[in-house]
Each structure stands twice: as C-alpha cells, then as structure tokens.
C-alpha cells in the first residue's frame, strides 16, 4: 500500500513519518512516534480516550487521518509536564483522586486543557460540557470535575 509522508510538531519536537493511506492519527502517534498517551477505547469517536490537541483545538485522533495533519502542531498529555514539573491540571487530577484505572485520564486532561486555554475561569457547567465527550467508567466524574475547577483556580491565582 502506498505510503504517505507526513511532518508535524509533537509536543514541541519535529516529527517526520511515513504512514499508509487511511492511517488514523491515533495509530500514527502510538505506532510510529511511540507516544502511547492517547488511548484507543472505541476507535469510533465516542469515548474520547484518544483526544489530542491539534493547533489549539481538541480533536479525536481515532477519527483524524494522519495524512491531514502535516504541518500541524500536536499536543498530547505526555508532553504536558515541563522539566518534570506537572502541569496544574495533572497536579489537580492527582490531588483530587480524579484517576482510577487511568485509561481515560490522558484524554480527559486534553479536553480540560483546551477548556482552560479558552475559558480560564469556567463554571461547573462549562467543565461538564467540556468533558461531555470523554467517558470515564470508574470515577463517576465528580472528582474529575472538581480537579478541573481546582486547576482553573490555581491558574488564575498564579496569573494574579
């Protein structure tokens, strides 16, 4: 099958890969770049575990063709901590017991990051809406919602 060359930035690093036509970004990230933080839960765009940020927007990598991502800037949860220091969202998820099995966590954090990037002081309803595309089967969501609200407060205190 014909291979397609793609180049993109992943968490600040330049990447160049050859993928087969029709390869999803999820498979390209996991199998080609070795970044396994996006998870494959349903491969049909319903669970949100594969969520990544492409050019600042939240995207489902299982429904995104890798060949459409050339020239984009892609962020995943594995690139969020800087120099070993956790991002406020990661810290808040830890402190609020917002992870159990952890499989949905990287996607949740991506969805939460896009929310906070656009809406630094979200309401509870904003958080619920922003996470509505991400399924968690363990926590019952409440600790996750609290973690996102806590991270937003921490961000705004740092900014002040």
């Amino acid at each position: 099958m014909a291979k397609v060359p793609i180049q993109f930035t992943l968490n600040g690093s330049e990447k160049a890969e050859f993928v087969e036509g029709g390869t999803t970004l999820l498979h390209a990230l996991r199998d080609k770049t070795g970044d396994t933080s996006p998870k494959g839960g349903c491969h049909q765009g319903t669970c949100g575990a594969c969520s990544v940020i492409i050019d600042g927007e939240l995207r489902l990598s299982c429904l995104t063709l890798a060949e459409t991502c050339s020239g984009t800037d892609i962020q995943t949860t594995s690139g969020l901590a800087e120099a070993g220091v956790l991002h406020p969202l990661q810290r808040a998820f830890l402190d609020a017991f917002a992870t159990q099995c952890g499989f949905c966590t990287p996607g949740m954090i991506m969805a939460a990051k896009v929310l906070l990037d656009h809406t630094p002081n979200p309401s509870r309803e904003d958080v619920v809406e922003a996470l509505s595309g991400n399924i968690c089967r363990c926590t019952g969501y409440e600790p996750i919602i609290q973690a996102v609200l806590t991270a937003a407060r921490a961000n705004s205190q740092n900014a002040a």
Binding site: T36, S37, K39, H43, S78, A81, C101, G102, F103
Partner: protein
C-alpha cells in the same frame, strides 16, 4: 472524610496513621502523565494481529470450514482452527475442581452462542486479518436454540451443552444449590400474610474504556511473555498452561494494569490463543477486542430471575422465606456456577429468618456466556430482596426502615447456611442512614445494637 466515633468505639483505636487519612495513589502519577503502560502500549517489530471468525448463529452444527480463500489473502500468516489447540476443551474453574470442562477455545463441530470463536486469523496488519477473516467459509446447520432459562429447564428443550448433558449445572447437591433451615412450610402456615413475587434482570455489560486483549512476545529462551489486562493473572496463567499443554515456567505473564475491569476481565479468552499464535509463527501477536467485541462477545453479568415467597407477621417479623434463583450462564459455565452458589448463601439477606428454603439453579442457554461482575450472584439478589422488603412493609402498613430493624441480623444469630453472624453492623448503618437521610424511626430502634445483651 468523616469517621463516626460513636459506633463500635470499643473495637477501634484512635490516632491511626493510615486509616482515615487520604493517601496518594501510587499509580496516579503514571496516569496523569500518560506514562502508565497498558498492555496495548507494547508495540513490537513484526507484530501480527489476530482476528476471530465468529459464529453468526446462536446454535448450529459446523459441517465444514474452508480457509483456502482466506489463506491466499495478502498479509495472512497463519490460520488456526480447533485442531491446532492442544487442549481445546477447558473450563476456567477447573483449577478449583469445578468441572466439567465444557468450553472450546475454537469451536469444534458445533457453536452454542452467537459470536462464538470459530477460526483465528493472524496477519501482518489488523486490516488484513479482518479482511481475511471475512473470507473464511463456515458451513453451518442451524439448530433450534433456547434463550429463556425456564424454557431451557423444561423436558424436550434443545440441549445447549453436551459436556453437561442437561441444561443446568449439576452440583454435588443435585440440580441446584440448596439451603434448608427450619421448617419453611410451618412458617408459611403460621404467617399472617404471604407475598410471592418474581424479579428478573437482563445481562449487563461492564463496558470498560480499555477493551480486553493481550500482546504476546516469543522470547529467545523459548518462553512467551504475555502482556495482558486480565484481572486474574494466575487463573489465566494456569489455564493457558492447561490449554497449551505447556509448563507454566514457559509462560511469563505481565499485567496488573487494567483499564477498567469490573469483573469483565477475569475470563481466560484472549491469552491462550494469542500465545499459540506466537508459538506457531515465532512472531509477536496482538489480540485486542474491538469495541463491538467488548460489547457483544465479552461475558456480561448473568441475567437472573429470582422468585421470593415470604411469610410475615403483623408485628413485622418475617417467619419464612422461600427463594428460587436462576442464573443464566449462557452457553458455558465460566464463573456462573460459583455465582449461583453465592446467591444460595446470600438470599436470606442480612436478616434473621427462622425458616428458610433456597434453591439456586445455574442454567445453560444459547446466550452469550456470562461471568463475573461486581458482586455477581448477590447484586441482582439484593435488588430483588430489598424491593421485596419494601413491599412486605407496605403489606403490613409498617415503615420500611423500622421493618428492617425488626428483622436485621445481629451478632450471634444463626444464618440459614449455618454460619453464625459475627461483626454485624446493619443496625448501626441503618441508624446512621436514618439520621443522614432525615428518615426518623422510633427511639427503640435508635437504641438497638448489633451486639445482643449478654452476648
């Protein structure tokens, strides 16, 4: 977190260092950084992908299997049928002497549920495996199927599983697990009211975010490393050892990281066939359920039917309880004989009843095999029992919470399966629930204790 000090104060030390303190989970840092390694995060060069050809019928004889077209499909490396599996007929609980072996790794001559694995296809890519699987031709003779437990128990019903010989699990106690305590008929004769009700549940899927699967690597030392999300590492290792007729020392299982299980990952389904594929090809093998397979193929919680007949006095005492429970195992045992047995011990509920009669059946039907899920054998029973308790309270015009205080088991009470009650806390839980829910009960109930005076 709030710990109430007024209950069982004499049994508990204060000033504990760990209990009552929030402690960080050790696995959370990996989860929030995306570093936690789930089985599917292992990717090896040359890895093959396994896809199953599955039965489209609920019950059918297999006349023939033709894999010739599939073998020619580009990228196909190996196709496995029943004859390739060293010990093809197994049952998970054989490890604790709960037999007979009743399930095939790959169907041999017959399929007993829609979705049963018939042929395994190993190919260079997931897509090639999927496309080749669609080219396998299986000639079926469709047989009458049975989906209802009571129908399955009737004479003349289609026989689901020949390894059992009848459509129920044969316990050492006979066709069902039995609990006999006191004289249930005398209890009914004495009762002011009798209420018989029937409760039914559907199968429930766990729907973990991470689907069931494993990745197997053949090692240079003739061993196989199996990265798996099983919830039952040693059950899986030992059953794989039996199925593959391979000493356990050849098998290295790596796991413990499970992306949600809830009981849905305790069966031994993906690992043996993936290890066999790795053995016969000498290459790493990945076998991961699609979301559709997770929903349709993985074991759900069993459908259950619970028939409860209670005799109750006007003063609130339950004097007799007769329960007939049915657990729908589907086509194979897996963990269901154990679930039905748990139900037998559980059905009196946390109540002291002097006359109890319980029969629980583990029934075979042509439905998806059921297995473990969070409190299987007791959860549906609890639903039925507590709805029944509310109905009984209404029948005699009593507050439902006070009715439960009257019947609550207390330390020293003999349970129907003849285990004396120890460490009961139902009364105290209900007292706290009464306060928390602002559902007041008479002062005499708030003064009760799980300890009996003089005990």
């Amino acid at each position: 977190m709030e710990l109430r000090k007024n209950y069982f104060a004499d049994q508990r030390k204060d000033g504990l260092h760990e209990i009552g303190q929030p402690r960080p989970r050790l696995d959370s840092p990996g989860h929030v950084t995306g570093k936690t390694a789930y089985f599917a995060d292992r990717n090896f060069p040359g890895m093959l992908h396994l896809k199953m050809v599955r039965s489209p019928h609920h019950h059918a004889r297999i006349r023939s299997i033709d894999t010739s077209e599939a073998e020619k499909h580009p990228g196909v490396v190996k196709i496995l049928t029943a004859k390739d599996v060293p010990h093809n007929v197994y049952t998970i609980l054989i490890l604790i002497q709960i037999g007979p072996e009743d399930e095939t790794v790959l169907a041999d001559g017959k399929v007993r549920w829609k979705g049963e694995a018939v042929v395994a296809v190993l190919a260079e890519t997931e897509r090639a495996a999927q496309e080749a699987a669609a080219k396998v031709k299986v000639d079926y003779e469709v047989l009458p199927a049975v989906f209802d437990m009571e129908e399955a128990l009737k004479p003349g019903a289609p026989l689901v599983n020949e390894y059992h010989g009848q459509n129920y699990y044969l316990y050492d106690s006979g066709e069902c697990r039995k609990v006999r305590f006191g004289d249930v008929e005398a209890g009914f004769a004495e009762a002011d009211h009798i209420l018989e009700q029937s409760y039914q549940s559907s199968p429930i899927e766990h729907a973990p975010t991470e689907t069931t699967g494993c990745v197997v690597m053949p090692e240079g030392n003739d061993r196989f490393t199996c990265y798996t999300n099983t919830q039952a590492m040693f059950f899986t290792l030992d059953n794989a050892s039996i199925i593959l007729q391979m000493p356990g020392s050849k098998l290295h299982f790596v796991g413990g990281t499970v992306g949600g299980g809830f009981g849905g990952k305790v069966d031994v389904i993906v690992e043996p066939i993936a290890i066999l594929g790795a053995k016969l090809t000498g290459r790493p093998v990945s076998f991961i359920y699609s979301r559709e397979e997770e929903m349709q193929i993985s074991s759900p919680r069993a459908a259950e039917k619970v028939v409860i007949k209670d005799g109750v006095m006007k003063d609130g005492r339950i004097v007799a309880r007769k329960v007939t429970g049915y657990t729908d195992a589907g086509a194979y045992s897996r963990h269901s004989p154990y679930g039905a047995q748990k139900g037998a011990a559980h059905y009196p509920g946390p109540y002291t009843i002097p006359n109890v009669w319980i029969d629980t059946y583990c029934v075979y039907t042509n439905r998806t095999p059921s297995s473990a899920m969070r409190g299987f054998g007791v959860t549906i029973g609890d639903f039925a029992l507590e709805v029944q308790m509310d109905k009984l309270a209404r029948l005699i015009g009593m507050d439902p919470l006070e009715f439960r205080f009257i019947n609550a088991y207390r330390d020293g009470d003999m349970k129907a399966h003849r285990q004396p009650t120890e460490g009961a806390a139902l009364i105290e839980c209900m007292q706290e629930a009464s306060r928390a829910a602002n559902w007041p009960v008479a002062e005499k109930y708030m003064a009760m204790s799980s300890y009996k005076k003089g005990a």
